[in-house]
Structures are given as structure tokens and as C-alpha cells.
Amino acid sequence: MEARLSHATIHSDFVKKVEELSGQDLLACYQCGKCSAGCPIVEEAEILPSQVLRLVQLGQRDDALHSKTIWLCASCYTCVSRCPRGVDLSKIMEALRQIVLRKNLDHVKVSELSRKEMAKLPPIALISNFRKFTG
């Protein structure tokens, strides 16, 4: 992955937007990786959760927003309870999802889900999934 760094990318509107939506100080993270070590979806992630945060710190908007990791995150709060710097990574993941969803780009297309599977699922699964993955 190629990263283009400049004063402009690091201080871009994208970085400010993530800070605003998440309420987190992105530079508080010192990249220890503890969040990734305990994350339940890390085996499926091409980019580790801590690397997603690094991409945001450096203003790498497209790489962060296109990472599968933000959609794999299950908001389990393990990273939140373990971060030695008090960073709430679950809120940063939510901010990134919201930036995409607010452009009307749903991650889950409800009409494409199988009716048979949907009939089996409890309301709690459907509502939480649609709240996280649709705009």
C-alpha cells in the first residue's frame, strides 16, 4: 500500500470529521497494537484495527474507508476496555462507517438478503445489523 503524506492530508477535513464524529483524540494512539491483539474479527481483517486507526491519523481517507475491517467490526468494545491510552476505537470504527453510510452507500442491501435466512433471524439481529450497516 502506498501512502502519500503531506501536511494537507494529515490536517484534512476527513481527519477532523472522524475526530468530531468519534469524539476521540486520534493522536493519543501510539500504535501498540493491543486493540488488534484482542479483536475478535482480526483473523478476517486484511488491515488490522490499529492499522485502520493509523491510516486515519495519516489522513489516508480512501484506504481507511475502503477497508473491510470497518464492516467486520462487531462493536464488541474489547479494544475500548484494553487500550492503554484510553482511545475508544469502537467509536472511530463507527465514525468511518457513518461517513460511508451518510453518502447513501449501504453496506448491507436488505433486498438482497435471502428471505429464508431472514425468517430465521431474531429481530435483535436484523435491527442491530441494519442500524450498523444501512444509512
Binding site: I41, S81, P122, S128, N129, R131
Partner: protein, 291 residues
């Protein structure tokens, strides 16, 4: 004692056995759960985006309902409802400005003062009834039942919301011991089951289920005990999906803690709805002589 009770959607649809066994057990322990006369879906997940106040209205509205019925506290059974209601409550208590905005927006409602305490039924059993009291009311000890507690995420995290220690909870173990069951500790007990990924990424949840269940089975647990209808679905239904893919997988029944409590209190299988489970727990229970 009496306490207001917020059921949430899933307890009225797919997890009715959780509700019926909880209400009967609480009653037997002197706790009357009064269902709110009006309530709405809490949204199931707490919105984590700072500016997304619109999604805090659903949980706050339910807390206003508690106030309308002159309540100071409300109990839930579902871990996700607990987390959503309690998190929204904390948010507006810590942010007077957000509280003002929400109250101004909901101008058809009375203002909410932030004063409702949200508690899980497990906390009532531990802190108000007491596990020793539970032990004294047990008429059908669950001796010889090896049960692996599974907490998942939302009962425990974030820490300011959790009902027990985030990394090493014991509340379910302590309840199981009061019923003379044998808790089987597991390194997966506070790991995520994959949660709502079960809708569009079932394979991920099947892998999480494999970790949780196979560890329990290897350590001679005979069942898994939960307090969340989504954990229940994932461990029950996705465990069956796993077994269909791979023959030879041990099938462990999954229980809501209230179902075991109802049996231990001698309330009978009628309040437990065991026929609703995908993995039938009745052969295990009858082999132990509990039903």
C-alpha cells in the same frame, strides 16, 4: 419488591422462553417484574456517533415511560437492551447540553431528568435478593450439571456500563453455584460471538461459535448459559449450521440463565419453552432427572 420491566422486541418474538422463565423465577424469589404499559424498541445497539442524537431518542423515550409510571429503576433481561438503555442514560447525564437538546426535541413528552436506574435481572439476583437467598429457595438442585457461562460483550463492556468485571466476570458462575450446578470456566466467556454479523456474514459467526462451543465441549461442559437473545441465536442456530458442515461436532444445548433458575426453583419445564430451541436441551435435562 416490585420493579418496572422493559422486555424489548426479541423477548416477545423469538425469546419468549427467556421472559416466561424470568418472570416466574423472579416471582418465586419475591421480585415482581411489572412490564411497562408502553414501550418501544430501544434500537438494540447504542449509537456511537457523537452527533447522532436522533438514535438516542428510542432508549430515552423508554426511560420516560418508567418515570410516567413513577418508577426510579427498570430491569431488563436482554444484554443488548441493558447496554443501550444504560449507555443512553449515561450519555445524557454526562452531557447536560445533549440532555437539553433531546428534551427540547421531544416536546410531546415530559422532560426526562436522567434519574432512572437501569439494572439487569442478574444484578437484582446478586445485589438485592442475594445468591444465598437463591440457594435457600432451590428445591431441585442442578447437581452434576456442567455448565459453561458465556457472557459475550454487552453485559460487561464498556466498563462503565458492565455489571461485572470486564475481563473476569463471575456473576453467572455464582448463580450456577447457588443452584448446585458446576460452572466450567472458559477463556472465551467474554469473547464476542460475532453479534449482528450473523445477518450478512454468517460464516464469521460460525467460526466464533466453533471456538466457544468446542472449548466448552473439550472441557466436558454439557451446556452453555447466556443472557442475550443474540448470543443465544448465534450459539444455538449457528452451532447447528456448523454441525451440518462437519459431522462429529458435539452439540451443546444453550440455556438462558433463567431457564436453569426456574428448574432449580421447582417451577417446572412449562415456563421454560424448551421446544423453542434448535438444539433440544430436553434429553440432557431428563438424563439428569431435572424434567
Amino acid at each position: 419488591m416490585k420493579i418496572h420491566y422493559y422486555p424489548g422486541c426479541t423477548l416477545k418474538v423469538t425469546a419468549t422462553q427467556f421472559e416466561s422463565s424470568a418472570i416466574a423465577s423472579a416471582q418465586a424469589l419475591g421480585v415482581e417484574m411489572l412490564e411497562l404499559q408502553r414501550w418501544n424498541c430501544c434500537g438494540t445497539v447504542y449509537s456511537l456517533a457523537n452527533d447522532d442524537l436522533i438514535r438516542q431518542l428510542a432508549p430515552i423515550r423508554n426511560l420516560i415511560r418508567v418515570r410516567n409510571e413513577n418508577g426510579n429503576a427498570v430491569t431488563t433481561l436482554c444484554s443488548m437492551c441493558l447496554n443501550t438503555l444504560k449507555s443512553a442514560n449515561l450519555l445524557i447525564n454526562e452531557n447536560p447540553e445533549k440532555k437539553r437538546t433531546i428534551n427540547a426535541f421531544m416536546d410531546e413528552e415530559e422532560d426526562y431528568d436522567g434519574g432512572v436506574e437501569v439494572v439487569h435481572l442478574l444484578e437484582i439476583l446478586r445485589d438485592r435478593v442475594g445468591f444465598e437467598e437463591v440457594r435457600g429457595k432451590v428445591t431441585q438442585p442442578l447437581s452434576g450439571l456442567r455448565a459453561s457461562p458465556y457472557y459475550g460483550c454487552l453485559l460487561l463492556r464498556p466498563e462503565e456500563i458492565g455489571i461485572d468485571r470486564a475481563e473476569s466476570p463471575t456473576i453467572l458462575e455464582d448463580l450456577l453455584k447457588s443452584m448446585s450446578a458446576e460452572p466450567i470456566d472458559s477463556p472465551y466467556k467474554a469473547e464476542c460471538c460475532g453479534s449482528y454479523q450473523t445477518v450478512d456474514k454468517a460464516d464469521l459467526v460460525i467460526e466464533k461459535t466453533r471456538d466457544i462451543v468446542s472449548w466448552a465441549a473439550r472441557n466436558k461442559a454439557q451446556c452453555i448459559v447466556v443472557s442475550c437473545p443474540l448470543c443465544f441465536f448465534n450459539l444455538d442456530e449457528r452451532q447447528k449450521d456448523l454441525a451440518e458442515r462437519e459431522s462429529g461436532t458435539a452439540l451443546l444445548p444453550v440455556f438462558y440463565f433463567t431457564q436453569l433458575l426456574a428448574l432449580a426453583l421447582g417451577l417446572g419445564a412449562e415456563v421454560c419453552g424448551f421446544q423453542k430451541h434448535v438444539i433440544d436441551p430436553r434429553p440432557l435435562l431428563s438424563s439428569k432427572g431435572f424434567i
